[in-house]
Each structure stands twice: as C-alpha cells, then as structure tokens.
C-alpha cells in the first residue's frame, strides 16, 4: 500500500522568507499618530493646559522629513528578510527614531522659550509619545528575536549612549519635564535613592523569607499546599490596602512596646513600606524557588546523594545550577514588580519616586507626575534588561 505524501507547506509560510509584519505595523501606526496628534503641547505656564503643535509646526519641514525618512527605512528593512543584519539594523533605526524625536521636541521647546518667554511650558504630546514608544517596542522586539548576543546588546547600548549624550548636551533643558527636574534636582536624587533603597530592602526581605518558604515547600511537599494558600491570600490584598493595613497594627505595636521605635519601627514611614513590599514579593519568590527546585530531576539528586555528595554539595552542584533559569526569572519578575509597587510607598510617608507623582497630582502639574512615573518605568526597564543580560551570561553553555 502506498502512503500518500504529505503536502509541502506553502512557500510564503516557510520560516525566514516572509516579510516581518511587526515593524511594518508599528511604523505605520507611528506614522498615522504623527499625522493626527500633536507632537508637542505648548502652554502659557506650568498649570494651564496648552494647545498642540503638529510635527510640521514644531520641527519644521527638515525635522519632519527626517523622522518620516527613518520610518521609511524601518519599513524597507522589514520587507527585506534575507538581509543578514536585518534585526540589528531595524533596532538601530528604532533607536535613532527615539533619539531624533526627543531632540526635535527639545529644539521646539528652546524655540518657544525664546519666542514666548520663560513661563511658557512645552510638554511632550501624543504624537511624540507614539513615536517614542514605537521605537521602544521595536528595540524590545529586536532584542528578543535577534539570536546573537552582540546583536541584542549593541542597539540598546547605542541608544542609551545617544540618550546620555543628548541629555548632557542641554538640548532637552527647555522641555517642561526637564524644568520640573531642574527645580528639584537634589530632591529628585534623594527620592530616587530612597526608591532604590525601599525596593532593595523589600526585595532582600522577599528573597530571604520567600526563599526559605520555597525551600521548605520543596523539602516537605505535604506542607506546600497550605503554605501557598496563605501566600495567595496575601497576594490578593490590593496593594494600596496592604500599605494601609499595616499602619494600624504597627502603631498599636509601637504603642505597646515604645522601645521598638528606637529600631525604626513605626506605623508610617519606611518600615511598613519595606514590610509591605517584602510581603508582596513573598509569593512570587516562594513559588519561583519551589518551582525551580521541583524541576530538578529527582534522579539527579538521588545520584548525587548516592555518590557521596554532602547536603551542601548537592545544593551547590545540582539544585542551584539546575534551578538557575527559574531562579533568575523569579528575581527579575519580583524586582520589576517591586520597583512599580514602591511608588505607593510615598502614600505612607516613606518617600521614593511616588512622591513626585502624588505631588504632581495634587498640583495638577502633569509633567511632575510624568517625572516620577517615567523614572519608575525607566528603573523597571533597566532592571529587567540588566537581569535578562545577566541570565544570558550565566546560562550560556560553555563552548566545548
């Protein structure tokens, strides 16, 4: 009997030969938003709302043309899948798109400052943000899909260097965002440091306690169920509520034992913030540690024990290296989550980048809100990228 041969896949569906749709789509969206929305927004002063300026008005024909040209280049590159450095080139173009939009917005702000006076505020508009986020998405997509490590890192580093150079050159100094920063430089640095301290302390707490719980759940599987049930309940408390919930008990506690105040324990301030962040990190860390250890083949542990490894050697030589991919992922996800959550710490008087967000909300100063929010987002992105890089470095298989 003859077995009918399977059909060949249609040529267009073969991997590596089709047009890359995502960059095309993103650049088309960027183009549309650019033509419709305002590139920057000009307001008479810090608190009044302003009116949008189109890219054409804000950047002039030359600036507009160069941005459109970059979008065109990205579209062209996306249609050339056979090109060897396709992804790297798209990522570099995306970085250029981000930097050029920022530079054009900065120049527009300088012109307005000269033309309309010091009180005038130039904020970044919807058109700018669409372009900037489109560039960011393309960069992230490129880093995810580019197979070579140098190809992943190069466009990111080039863009970061360009950004640093742009800021150092002072071309962005007249943007409203930069002016919000300029008037509170020292406070900004203090709160940024405080944000990092809160996140770091919360993460350390989550790693130690969550790690111990994950290890216990791995060693005593019959206890894993109840332990994770309790942690799940902690996780379902809304984050803002958790910060608030700690105020009561801690205040009562320090009322009963005033000596605790000497140790920095109080109902408001950094202590409850760190405690809340640690509690939030507990479940992801415990789950990650448990999942990572459980994924180590039991036969490997059995063999290690049977060959005479001590408990410590089993952990060092088998459990940790084999659980490492999951452990690094856990670390990354928890850190990013805590950087975001630490914004809420400002609400209970612990400071951090949230301070600017809540001040800005109070003053209806959108750019002050943006200063805090953008900084938190940037921190999260940097932490995420750095830990991804670390994972790539640690998990590479040594060449034979």
């Amino acid at each position: 009997m003859r077995i009918p041969a399977g059909r060949e896949p249609a040529p267009a569906l073969r991997a590596g030969t089709d047009i890359d749709v995502l960059p095309l789509l993103i650049s088309a969206l960027a183009l549309a938003a650019l033509l419709l929305g305002g590139f920057v927004v000009v307001a008479p002063n810090r608190l009044l709302s302003g009116s949008p300026l189109s890219l054409w008005q804000a950047a002039g024909p030359g600036g507009a043309a160069s941005l459109l040209a970059i979008l065109g280049v990205i579209a062209l590159l996306a249609a050339r899948p056979a090109l060897r450095l396709q992804r790297v080139l798209i990522s570099l173009a995306a970085g250029a798109l981000m930097l050029l939009s920022l530079a054009l917005a900065g120049m527009a702000a300088s012109e307005q400052a000269v033309a309309a006076g010091r009180l005038t505020r130039v904020s970044l508009g919807a058109g700018f943000w669409t372009l900037f986020v489109a560039g960011l998405l393309l960069l992230a997509d490129g880093a995810e899909r580019e197979p070579r490590r140098a190809g992943k890192a190069l466009p990111l580093l080039a863009t970061l260097l360009g950004l640093a150079a742009l800021i150092a050159s002072g071309r962005l100094a007249h943007l409203s965002l930069a002016r919000e920063y300029a008037v509170r430089q020292q406070a900004y640095l203090d709160e940024l440091l405080r944000h990092l301290q809160l996140t770091g302390a919360g993460l350390a707490l989550a790693l130690v306690a969550g790690g111990a719980i994950g290890l216990l759940a791995y060693r005593r599987p019959q206890r894993a169920g109840p332990v994770f049930a309790v942690l799940n309940i902690v996780q379902t408390i809304p984050s803002l509520a958790l910060f608030a919930l700690l105020i009561g008990p801690l205040t009562v506690l320090t009322g009963l034992f005033p000596a605790l105040r000497q140790l920095g324990i109080a109902g408001i301030g950094p202590f409850p913030a760190i405690l809340a962040l640690g509690l939030y990190g507990l479940l992801p860390v415990a789950r990650g540690v448990h999942a990572g250890l459980s994924a180590v083949p039991p036969a490997v542990v059995e063999a290690a024990r049977g060959m005479g490894m001590t408990g410590g050697q089993i952990v060092r030589h088998t459990l940790i290296p084999l659980a490492l991919p999951t452990l690094l992922q856990t670390l990354r996800l928890t850190l990013v989550q805590l950087i975001g959550l630490a914004v809420l710490a400002a609400l209970i008087g612990a400071g951090g980048l949230g301070t600017f967000i809540f001040q800005g909300l109070g003053q209806t100063a959108a750019d002050l809100v943006l200063l805090g929010a953008l900084s938190a987002i940037a921190l999260a992105l940097i932490a995420d990228t750095a830990l991804r890089g670390l994972a790539l470095f640690l998990l590479r298989r040594p060449a034979p």
Binding site: P297, A299, V300, E302, G306, M307, M309, H317, R397
Partner: protein, 310 residues
C-alpha cells in the same frame, strides 16, 4: 566484601526487608532478583545508607557501616540507577570526574582516570569527553553512568536495575561490557534486577527475594536446577523454567568427548549456552553438534539427549 546480617526494614508498618542474611564475596557479581516490591532495591539502598536498617547489621570490608560516615561510605561504593541521573549541566568528563573531585584527587590523575574509564566502557574519549548528556543515546548515557560510578575506584559497585530503561540489543551490549569490566577490574558488584535473563547472564550468584524474605542463594545453575520454593520456580518461568535453565548452563557443562563426523556443521563454542546450542539444533534440524574444544582441550560433541540429562 559486604555482609548483611538479620536485616529488617519497615516503611510505615509494612516490612520491606525481613530478616535477610547475605554474604557477597569479594570480586563476585551478586544479582538480587525478585518481583516488584520484593525488597531488593531497599536492600541495596541500605548498603550505602541511603536508608538505615531497623534491625541487623551490615559489615562492609569487615567494618560496621554505621561506624562509617555515610558520605565517606558512598564514595567508597559506586552507585548506578536505572534513570542514570547524569548531571545535565556538566560534560561527560565532568560527570565522570564527580567522585574523584569529591575525593580531592590531583587534576592530572583525574584526567587520566576519565580517559581510562571512557575507554573501559567503550566510548572513545576524543568523541565523547566534551559532550553533554543530552547529546548521547540512552545506552551511551548509561555507559557514562557506569564510568562515573567506577571513577573513584570503588571497592563495591551498587547497581539498581541499571539496564532496565534501554532496548534489548543495547541492554545485551551493556551487559557484555559490564562482564568485561568486572573481569578486568575485579570490582565486587551487587546488582538489582527483575529481568530473569539478565540475572542468569550476569549473576555469578543469585539472591532471590520475595516479600522481603531471602528465599534462596546460589549460582544460576543451582537455583534453576533446584528452586527452593514455588515462588522461586514461578519467578524463573514456572512451566518454562526448564528453558531458562538452558540459559544458565554452558555447552562445556554437558558435552562429552567424541570425534565429530563430517557433515555435522560448524562446531559450537564450549562457552556458548545450551539455549544457543538448542536454537542451532532446531534451526539446522540436527540432534548433534560438534564442540570446538572441551576444558581438557579435546574436541567433543553435544547430543540433544545431553540437554535433558539430569
């Protein structure tokens, strides 16, 4: 080499091993056989103190094992399990070097030992040393598992159904290698298996276990000629026990002196099993085979009637 004396071990009230006394002589290969749940794996894991006995004592090279720290004891015994358990993040050579590194050997001696062992288990070092376990076939992985267990020059090799997970031809190849290795190194081997053929092929001594009790010990020929209980007879094939007995006996055990006459076909080796001889007789339609050389060096013959001689 290792002596179990009055060993009992229970798990939650159920007796897994019940009053077992067994002596494994230095340089021998003892196969612990029995059905699932007979206690054979438990007995093996008591030897290197992965489990501790409830009653009785185990003496290893004359010393009570409870007087030797478990980690030290295990490094003096090789350990091979069915699922191999190679370290997936280490190369083949790093895997084999595990125990020597734990013992703190100098690196030159480790390198030499690794190359020697790869050769011993039939893996060319140049091809395999730098590869990772997931790049090897199941049979190659178990060869590495055996090499790793032998690396620390153990006095005793413990093997828990080592070839249970590989296909039959590969299994026979691994069994042949194991016998050759034992001949060369003289290591004492205690091996757990539920595979009757494997037990008969490998076991210099069989120790038959059933429901935690040791029913019989002896050479395969002895056990199959006179099974001590019905349970032993059932394990070795029940009504087909006689056929398995042919696997345990060699042509040389039954052949008699005599000059082969022409036209009797290729002579058979005196080391071949009677099963192989019977297979040839059936296939070639003969009731007599010439034998290449008997123990005294003379040629001989094997008759069909020799197979059924008591």
């Amino acid at each position: 080499m290792i002596r179990f004396e009055g060993i009992c071990k229970s798990f939650g009230g159920a007796r897994a091993v019940n009053d077992v006394t067994l002596d494994v002589a230095r340089g021998s290969l003892c196969a612990l056989v029995g059905t699932s749940g007979s206690g054979k794996s438990t007995l093996l894991r008591l030897a290197n103190r992965l489990l501790e006995a409830d009653e009785g004592s185990i003496r290893f090279d004359g010393a009570d094992v409870t007087n030797i720290p478990p980690v030290e004891l295990r490094r003096r015994m090789g350990y091979v399990i069915q699922s191999v358990g190679l370290f997936p993040h280490w190369t083949v050579e790093r895997n084999i070097a595990t125990v020597p590194r734990l013992l703190g050997w100098p690196s030159a001696r480790i390198d030499q030992r690794v190359a020697e062992l790869l050769d011993l288990v039939g893996l060319p070092p140049g091809l395999h040393a730098r590869r990772y376990p997931d790049e090897l076939s199941g049979g190659q992985q178990q060869r590495v598992g055996v090499a790793r267990a032998l690396a620390g020059e153990p006095e005793l090799l413990l093997m828990d159904e080592p070839f249970g997970a590989v296909d039959p031809p590969t299994r026979r190849g691994l069994q042949d290698s194991l016998m050759a290795i034992q001949k060369r190194t003289g290591t004492t081997i205690l091996l757990v298996t539920h595979d009757v053929e494997e037990a008969i092929r490998l076991g210099g001594t069989l120790a038959v276990l059933d429901q935690g009790r040791l029913l019989q010990t002896g050479t395969p020929a002895q056990v199959l000629a006179q099974p001590a209980t019905d349970a032993v007879a059932r394990f070795f094939g029940g009504p087909l026990l006689g056929l398995n007995r042919l696997k345990a006996l060699r042509v040389g055990d039954r052949a008699h002196a005599g000059a082969p006459s022409p036209g009797e076909g290729e002579p058979i080796d005196a080391e071949a099993t009677l099963e192989a001889a019977l297979a040839r007789m059936v296939a070639e339609g003969r009731s007599r085979l010439p034998v290449r050389r008997l123990a005294n060096g003379a040629p001989g013959v094997l008759d069909l009637a020799d197979l059924v001689r008591p």
